[in-house]
Amino acid sequence: MSLAIIDAREWQNTFDLETGQPQTSESPAADMAARVLSRHPYPGDVDEKANQWVTGTALELIDRYDPDLVCVSYVQQFFADRHFRYARKERERLFASAMEEAERFIEKSGFTPVIVGTGDMIPLKGEMDLSGLDGLAVSSNWSARYCGIHAPSRHDMAFLDSLDTLERIVSRDQWIQMFATAQHDLEIHQDTNLMPDFLLAARQGHAFKTMGTTLRKPVHIPAKNFLVPVFSPLGRVDDLRDIKPLIRSRLPDHKIALILVEGVGERFFPASRFMCQNGVDWFCNEPGDAFYLTVSTGKHQPFAYPAGYRFFDKDADAIKFPFSGYMDTIPEHTLAQDFPGKSIAVGNRSMFMHMVFGVDISIECFARNLFNQGCMAVVHREDK
């Protein structure tokens, strides 16, 4: 059983990760994680100290658990840049300091890094309001480029065709087929009937305004980052999917830290960086679960939680993995899942850090829509 230890500030509780039921635990690892949590209260997603929290927490967890593999995410700069307007200099400093924090972690931990950026952010030029369709447009809080259309009328299709800011309209079958060709063992864990009839992709700089998008209008959104920066002294990779095999092949003789830095593009990376393919043809991953899962599993994962998914029509009366966002199973083939050594993850990307890497122990913030509720540790196993 995987345990979730929730720290809501001066108040801790342990739960079964899968059922959400309270648990009493005598697990030494859970006890250790709980003590780490109480020493590192989360400052909040857009707080300047949120990335230092990641480093500090990860270093303490390394100290106590002695892992061989660490997965870390730095996301404060992404949240801040997405929601708030900064002067140009201040914005540069935001991204540069995220990289400095990653470097501080590497220096203090002594781990060999593989740093992956999710690519540049650019100003939002405009939004397409699709609330007036006869069918239903569904986007998500964190997607800018994609939107799903369910049961459109002929009139809807004519309207969509007329939008200059729309890059393309792709049918569900075309979308699935494109990835099935690129990934012979493509996995679709969700109900395809709840996937949209058509996927829309916005032109660069444009986003959608529909059911499911955030109440906070974004200031910056991800660019079309078909190439993302990677820094890796362990060797070069050409595609995000190659990172997993690279790390796994070098783990026997290295302690390795996979570090994801969200919203950060090429020019903030060290000079010896290289660029790496993200996605297929016209589809690039935005920062988020699909990006993380692609890196971690070494497979394309656009359908782990498909864009435009009619999530609310899922049969949802039973509680499953209530602390894990939309995820209702532990993903397979993740980076650390069958790794015999010890592994941890720490990050300020909430709700899925503990699911996407398959590590033994993870600590992440517990924030929803930027509301800071505390932190969560997950202990998947402690038999190593």
């Binding site: 108040w11 509780n13 800071n372 505390g374």
Partner: protein
């Protein structure tokens, strides 16, 4: 000319109302931004949180912009505490019949006005009600209760279930944290609503600020009707209180202990993993409704163990508007039939 929607009773001759939503035109009050919504999204009714109305149901959450309060800790300050004129690019313009059709497309059992104060958008909400009624879709809302008797009457006609914020129990608290002079109109309106609507009450607790008023609130609710559910929220310091400390959960729970003898349905939540979200039978103390709380609009039904709203152990009736509704009961895929 004075605005008659909220107890600020703004003089519209000065321009627009405090909330920014009303102005005077040809001797009449004009709604400045009719049919404009900041959101329309499906959510669990428990996340609002209504705990004693249509448990398990899917609600379409709507809201507008602007508010008659300026709570220091507002969680939606970026929408509620802004002039609606400045938010035009984030709003959706959706005609009332279309909004109701949207609720049907998304398989929602009811419509709940959340986010900001409904009194600032009552004319639009009256129009929505007209279509919702035809489609048999009940409407509910969250209100701060600082509204005129006329507006209370209008709201009671639109909404069959109302969640009222009772944020403290003194003029001093309301003056300092909310920016209004008197609590009396709110207390008056809670009594009015409780006569015609299903009512739940919510109070955010701020340690060392209003925790000493909890028992007074409990006694006030008890004297109206003791089966009114009372939600005590651990305040999540937001907006202008971001730097404040988080109230201590054990101490705040302890502070509620004396109130529990007065009211059978007290819930203490708004933090992940709360243990005080289940409904216990007032007769025998058995758990009759189990819930799970992720805090912060993340509550959900876990198990409804009271068929026909009755405790299976002792037969005591559990106070409830409607009864258990399955999450997918209203799901529809044949949208041509929608309106």
């Amino acid at each position: 000319m004075k605005c008659h929607f909220c107890e600020r009773r703004c003089d519209l001759a000065d321009g627009r109302s405090f909330c920014g939503n009303f102005a005077e035109e040809n001797g009449k009050i004009k709604e400045r931004w009719p049919d404009q919504w900041c959101t329309y999204s499906p959510s669990r009714i428990e996340s609002v949180p209504f705990y004693h109305a249509y448990p398990g149901s899917r609600s379409m959450i709507i809201g507008t912009a602007g508010c008659n309060f300026r709570c220091r800790y507002c969680s939606y300050g970026f929408i509620a505490c802004k002039d609606p004129a400045q938010l035009q690019d984030v709003m959706y313009t959706i005609a009332p019949e279309k909004l109701v059709a949207m609720a049907k497309k998304m398989g929602c059992h009811n419509i709940v006005f959340n986010v900001n104060e409904p009194a600032v958008s009552l004319p639009s909400l009256q129009r929505v009600k007209k279509y919702a009624e035809k489609q048999d879709i009940p409407m509910g809302c969250l209100t701060n209760g600082y509204i005129t008797p006329e507006a209370t009457q209008m709201m009671a006609e639109i909404f069959s279930f109302v969640h009222i914020g009772l944020k403290g129990f003194s003029d001093a608290f309301y003056k300092e944290f909310v920016g209004i002079p008197h609590i009396a109109p709110i207390l008056r309106n809670i009594e009015t609503f409780s006569r015609t609507c299903h009512v739940e009450i919510a109070s955010p607790v701020i340690e060392d600020v209003n925790d000493h008023e909890l028992f007074d609130i409990a006694r006030f609710i008890h004297d109206i009707r003791q089966d009114i559910p009372w939600h005590v929220f651990r305040l999540l310091p937001e907006h202008n209180m971001k730097q404040s400390v988080y109230p201590n959960i054990d101490r705040m729970n302890q502070a509620l202990e004396t109130s529990r003898s007065l009211l059978p349905y007290i819930y203490f939540h708004n933090f992940v993993g709360s243990r005080w979200v289940n409904t216990l039978c007032p007769g025998c103390g058995e758990v009759v409704i189990k819930r799970f709380s992720l805090g912060c609009s993340g509550d959900r039904l876990d198990a409804f163990l009271a068929p026909d709203n009755t405790c299976t152990c002792c037969g005591t009736a559990i106070s409830m508007l409607g009864t258990r509704v399955g999450w997918n009961d209203k799901q529809t895929t044949v949208w041509e039939s929608v309106i």
